[in-house]
C-alpha cells in the first residue's frame, strides 16, 4: 500500500495508511518534526506546510489526495531564508511551538505578495494561532523580510532520511 510523496523536492516512499493525515506521515514516518501538532482540526496552523506553494493544514490532509503534489516543509527553508533571518533578528519566537507554521504561512504570503499590506498580513496570518502572543513581532518580521528580498522562495533541501 506504499505511495510516493514529493516532500521538499524528493520523492519519498511512505508506508502509512492512505487516510493518515500528512502531518503524522511527516512527523512519525519521515522524521520531519518541524511541523507541529496543535489542534488536529485546521484551527491553529501549527502544522502548516505548502502544497504546490499554497499553505495547507497538514493535520487534516490525508495523504491519499497528495500524489504528485509538491510538499514543502519548514525543513526545506534551510534556516537562513529572508523570513527566518527576520524572525531571528526580531527575536520573534517565545515558546516557539507555532513558529514553523507561522513561517510557512508567511513564506506563501511573500511568494504571492512580495510587499504585503497590513490587510494582506491579516488575511494570510489569521489562521496561525500563537498563544505566547508574538503577533506584533511576526508582523514586523514579515515586513522586514519583504524589504530584504524580492520574494522568499523556498529552497529545496534534502528531507531527513526516511525511517525503515
Amino acid at each position: 500500500m506504499a505511495m510516493t510523496l514529493d516532500v521538499n523536492g524528493k520523492p519519498l516512499a511512505v508506508k502509512a495508511a492512505p487516510d493518515t493525515p500528512l502531518l503524522w506521515v511527516l512527523r512519525d514516518e519521515l522524521g520531519l518534526t518541524g511541523s507541529k501538532f496543535g489542534c488536529g482540526v485546521a484551527q491553529c496552523g501549527a502544522c502548516t506546510v505548502l502544497a504546490d506553494g499554497q499553505p495547507i493544514r497538514a493535520c487534516v490532509m490525508p495523504i491519499e489526495g497528495l500524489a504528485g503534489v509538491k510538499i514543502t516543509t519548514i525543513e526545506s527553508l534551510g534556516g537562513n531564508s529572508p523570513l527566518q533571518q527576520a524572525w531571528v533578528k526580531h527575536d520573534v519566537p517565545q515558546c516557539g511551538y507555532c513558529q514553523s507554521g507561522q513561517i510557512m504561512s508567511a513564506t506563501a504570503l511573500l511568494a504571492a505578495k512580495p510587499n504585503p499590506t497590513d490587510a494582506d498580513i491579516d488575511a494570510a496570518m489569521d489562521g496561525n494561532i500563537c498563544r505566547c502572543g508574538t503577533y506584533q513581532r511576526i508582523r514586523a518580521a514579515i515586513k522586514d523580510a519583504a524589504g530584504m528580498a524580492p520574494a522568499a522562495t523556498p529552497v529545496a533541501a534534502p528531507a531527513a532520511p526516511a525511517k525503515s
Binding site: 507541529k36 524572525w87 514553523s100 491579516d122 506584533q136
Partner: protein, 728 residues
C-alpha cells in the same frame, strides 16, 4: 518617604512557593534530612570545575546550565546573561543547556524544590548565578596571576580574554582552562558593582533559541523519537471523578499499528507504533464509565450559587466558611457616606498552550526516565517515584523546551506525567512511551483558572474616596491536592486584592473569601489571583473616579500617595506620560488605564480601544513596567507584548463552561483565542530601578482586561460586570 520594598518582600508568589516547598519537604524534615538532600538521593552529581551552573569547553566556549525550563519567557537569555556579565564571557558565544533534575543543586531558592513558576526564574537565580559567574572569573584571574607572576588585582577579563596590561600578556579562556580548572572556587566571590555592568540591561541580551525555533530544529516533547518508542493515547472519562466500569478493546486491537490496550487509573490507554494508529485505536475502543463518584456540576449553577453566597443568601455547603484575608478598622461600625456596590463574574479558563500536554516515559525495574517539558521536576519525580516504587531523586528527567505552559505544566498531581508513567510501567523494560494528548484531551482535562465571583460594597467620603471597603470573593482553592492539608486562606487566589494600595488607603476594610469544594480541577493560570483581582480592583477604581467626577489617573495618584505606593505611582506616571494622557485620545479611540503589582513587578497600561460591530478592538497599548534591575529590555518588552495578548485573549473570548459536569469547549473553534489581526501594538517603557530583579512572565497579563474595560467605561459610561467581553 516610604521605603521601597524589595521584590522578595512584596512577592505575591511567596506563600505559594513556601507551600510547594513545605509540602514536599515536610516528610524529609520528619526524618531529619535536609529536603534537598533527601529529594536528591540517587541522583548523579558530576559537575565540572566551575560547578553546576557553568561548563567551559576546551575551546573556551561558555555554557550556562539553566535550572529553569524555557517555555517562552526568555529566561534562558536572562539567566545566561547574569553569568556572562560576572564572568565577562564573550556573550555572542555563550550557550544555554537545560539542567537535569537534582533538587539539592538546582532548587528554586524561593521554593526549596526544583521548579519554575511565580515569575521567579530570574529573581531567585540573581545572586546564585552572579556568584557562579564571579567565582569562575576569579579562577581564571588567579590562574593568570600565577602563570604570569602578576598581582591578581591587575588582571582584567573581557569577552573571554584574560589580560595583564602592564606585561602586555593575555590569554583566552581556552588557553587558561587547564590551570583555571585546578583553582579552588572562591567561597565568597566578589560581585561587580552594578554600575559597571556592560551586558545586563543592554539590547545585546537577546534570545539564544530564536534560530532553532525558526528553522524547526528546536526539540519539544512532541518531537521526541527514540528507538522502539511507542505512542499512547488515552480514552478519558467525560466527567471528573468517573472511573472505568468496563471496556472492550476488540476493535481497537484490530487497528493496524495498535500494540496493546491497558486500563490505567485515568482511563484506557491505547499503545501503538505511531500517533495516528493510537488515535484510530482509541476511536475504536468501547468504554463504559462508572459515574457514581463523578462531578456533575454545571458552571452556570455554580456561578449562581457563588453570587447567592456572596450576597449572604442561600445555604453554604458543608465545611465551607468565610475566611478573612484583610481586615482593618471596625467593620461593624456604621460609616457615613455614599454607597457604591458592584459584583463581578469570571469564568473558568483553559491555559490552552500551543503544545497539548504530553510526556515521554521509560520505566524499568526500579528505574525511570522522563523526557519532556518538566516545569516542577521535583514534583514530577515524586509522583513518578510513587508509581514506580523508587527514590524520587533517582527518577531521571531530561527537560525539553515546552510549547507554552502558562501554569498548566505545574500541578501537584503531575497529571499527564503520572498518566504516561502508568502506561510506561505497564509496557516496562525501559521501552519509551510517548503520551500524546489531542487538543480535545487537553481542553477537557481541567486544571482551569477557577470560576470566580467578587462582590464589593464601598462607602465613599464627600470627595469620593473610599472610607470603608467590604469585599467578598468566592472561588475554589488552588491548593487542593497539595500533599499537606492547607489551613486558612489560599492567598494565591486573593493576591492583588489582598495587599492592594487601595485597601491600604481605606480606613475600614473587611475582605473575606469563601472557597467551596468542587471536583473540577483548578490551577494557577498566568498571573494566578491577579487574573481576577486586578480586574476587580482596577475597574472598580475607575468607576469610583467617575462617580467622584475625577480623572482616573489623578484619582489613583491621590490613593497611591495616601498608601505610600511609590512604585505604583512611578509606573502610573510613566504610562500616563508616554500615552499623552494629558492630551485627548487619538480621534476615534477611547482610552483606559490600569495599574497592578504581581510577583513583585509593577505594570501600568493605557489601552486605546474602540467598538467595532459592538466588540472592543484594541489598537495600541502603552505599557510601563518596573521590575527591578532589567536584564534583557528586549525580552521584558516581549513578555509585556505576549502577556497582554494572553490576557486580552481571555478578556475578549475566554470561557470554559461545564454542563452537568462535561466541558462544553473542545478545541480552538469553540474556545476562541486571539489571532494576529486582533493583536494590539504594544509599546513598552521600563522604569529604571537598581533593585534586585523581579519577574516579567506574568505581570503584563492581568492589567490589560481592566484597561480595556476602563476605556469602554470612558467611551459609553458602561461598566463591565463579567468577562469575557464577548457574550456567547
Amino acid at each position: 518617604m516610604n521605603k521601597i520594598l524589595s521584590p522578595r518582600e512584596t512577592q505575591g508568589a511567596t506563600r505559594r512557593d513556601l507551600v510547594v516547598g513545605a509540602t514536599l519537604v515536610g516528610g524529609a524534615l520528619l526524618v531529619g534530612c535536609s529536603p534537598g538532600d533527601l529529594l536528591s538521593v540517587g541522583a548523579k552529581e558530576d559537575f565540572g570545575a566551575f560547578g553546576p551552573f557553568i561548563k567551559i569547553g576546551a575551546d573556551g566556549a561558555v555554557t550556562v546550565i539553566s535550572k529553569h525550563i524555557e517555555f517562552g519567557q526568555g529566561n534562558h537569555a536572562g539567566l545566561a546573561a547574569i553569568v556572562a556579565e560576572e564572568l565577562d564571557a564573550d556573550w555572542t558565544k555563550v550557550k544555554v543547556e537545560q539542567a537535569p533534575a537534582i533538587a539539592k543543586v538546582y532548587a528554586n531558592t524561593g521554593m526549596g524544590v526544583q521548579g519554575t513558576g511565580g515569575s521567579s526564574a530570574i529573581s531567585n537565580s540573581w545572586t546564585q548565578l552572579r556568584q557562579a559567574g564571579a567565582g569562575a572569573k576569579a579562577m581564571f584571574v588567579e590562574a593568570a596571576a600565577n602563570k604570569w607572576n602578576a598581582p591578581a588585582g591587575e588582571i582584567t577579563v573581557k569577552d573571554s580574554v584574560v589580560s595583564h596590561a602592564k606585561s602586555g600578556k593575555s590569554a583566552t579562556f581556552a588557553e587558561l582552562l587547564p590551570e583555571a580548572g585546578k583553582i579552588a572556587p572562591p567561597k565568597a566571590p566578589v560581585l561587580k558593582d552594578p554600575k559597571t555592568f556592560t551586558l545586563i540591561g543592554t539590547d545585546r541580551v537577546r534570545r539564544k533559541d530564536s534560530q532553532a525555533k525558526s528553522d524547526g530544529t528546536a526539540r519539544f516533547t512532541q518531537d521526541v523519537q527514540l528507538p522502539d518508542m511507542l505512542v499512547a493515547m488515552v480514552a478519558h472519562a467525560p466527567r471528573y471523578g468517573a472511573k472505568v466500569a468496563s471496556f472492550d478493546a476488540t476493535e481497537a486491537k484490530k487497528v493496524a499499528g495498535v500494540v496493546e490496550v491497558y486500563q490505567i487509573p485515568t482511563g484506557v490507554a491505547v499503545v501503538a507504533q505511531n500517533t495516528w494508529a493510537a488515535r484510530k485505536g482509541r476511536e475504536a475502543l468501547k468504554v463504559s464509565w462508572d459515574e457514581s463518584g463523578a462531578e456533575k456540576a454545571s458552571s452556570d449553577t455554580l456561578a449562581a450559587n457563588y453570587r447567592q453566597w456572596a450576597a449572604g443568601k442561600g445555604t453554604l455547603p458543608e465545611k465551607t466558611e468565610w475566611q478573612a484575608f484583610e481586615t482593618k478598622g471596625d467593620a461593624a461600625k456604621k460609616v457615613q457616606g455614599t454607597i457604591f456596590e458592584t459584583t463581578y463574574d469570571f469564568p473558568f479558563l483553559a491555559h490552552a498552550a500551543m503544545e497539548p500536554m504530553n510526556c515521554v516515559a521509560q520505566v524499568g525495574t526500579g528505574k525511570a526516565k522522563l523526557t519532556f517539558g518538566s516545569q516542577i521536576p521535583t514534583v514530577d519525580q515524586l509522583n513518578t517515584a510513587k508509581i514506580v516504587g523508587m527514590l524520587p531523586g533517582a527518577v531521571e528527567i531530561e527537560t525539553l523546551f515546552a510549547g507554552g505552559s502558562f501554569g498548566r505544566r505545574a500541578n501537584f498531581q503531575s497529571d499527564y506525567v503520572a498518566e504516561c508513567v502508568e502506561i510506561a510501567k505497564k509496557v516496562g523494560k525501559m521501552r519509551p512511551v510517548k503520551l500524546v494528548w489531542t487538543r480535545e484531551d487537553d481542553m477537557a482535562a481541567g486544571y482551569f483558572r477557577p470560576l470566580t465571583h467578587h462582590a464589593l460594597k464601598i462607602t465613599l467620603d464627600k470627595d469620593g474616596y473610599p472610607v470603608s471597603w467590604r469585599h467578598r470573593v468566592v472561588t475554589q482553592t488552588l491548593m487542593k491536592g497539595s500533599p499537606i492539608p492547607t489551613k486558612g486562606v489560599d492567598e494565591t487566589t486573593v493576591e492583588g486584592t489582598k495587599g492592594s494600595p487601595y485597601l491600604k488607603a481605606t480606613p475600614v476594610v473587611d475582605a473575606q473569601v469563601l472557597m467551596p469544594d468542587v471536583n473540577i480541577p483548578v490551577l494557577w493560570w498566568r498571573s494566578v489571583g491577579a487574573t481576577h483581582t486586578a480586574f476587580v480592583m482596577e475597574h472598580t477604581i475607575d468607576q469610583l473616579a467617575r462617580k467622584a467626577g475625577k480623572d482616573p489617573v489623578a484619582y489613583r495618584r491621590t490613593l497611591y500617595e495616601k498608601a505610600g505606593a511609590t512604585r505604583h505611582l512611578a509606573v502610573l506616571n510613566l504610562a500616563a506620560e508616554k500615552a499623552g494622557w494629558d492630551k485627548p485620545a487619538p480621534a476615534g479611540w477611547s482610552r483606559g488605564i490600569a495599574v497592578h503589582e504581581s510577583f513583585g513587578t509593577l505594570v501600568a497600561q493605557v489601552a486605546e480601544v474602540k467598538l467595532v460591530d459592538g466588540q472592543p478592538k484594541v489598537g495600541r497599548v502603552i505599557t510601563a513596567v518596573e521590575c527591578g534591575t532589567p536584564i534583557s529590555p528586549d525580552q521584558i518588552a516581549a513578555q509585556m507584548e505576549g502577556g497582554i495578548c494572553y490576557g486580552l485573549s481571555a478578556a475578549l473570548y475566554g470561557k470554559i463552561s461545564l454542563k452537568d459536569g462535561v466541558v462544553e469547549q473542545t478545541n480552538f473553534d469553540t474556545y476562541r483565542v486571539l489571532r494576529n489581526s486582533e493583536a494590539p501594538t504594544v509599546e513598552t517603557h521600563i522604569f529604571p530601578s537598581g533593585n534586585a530583579p523581579s519577574g516579567t512572565g506574568e505581570p503584563g497579563t492581568p492589567v490589560i482586561a481592566p484597561a480595556v474595560a476602563n476605556a469602554l467605561l470612558a467611551l459609553n459610561g458602561q461598566a463591565t460586570g463579567s468577562l469575557p467581553f464577548m457574550k456567547a
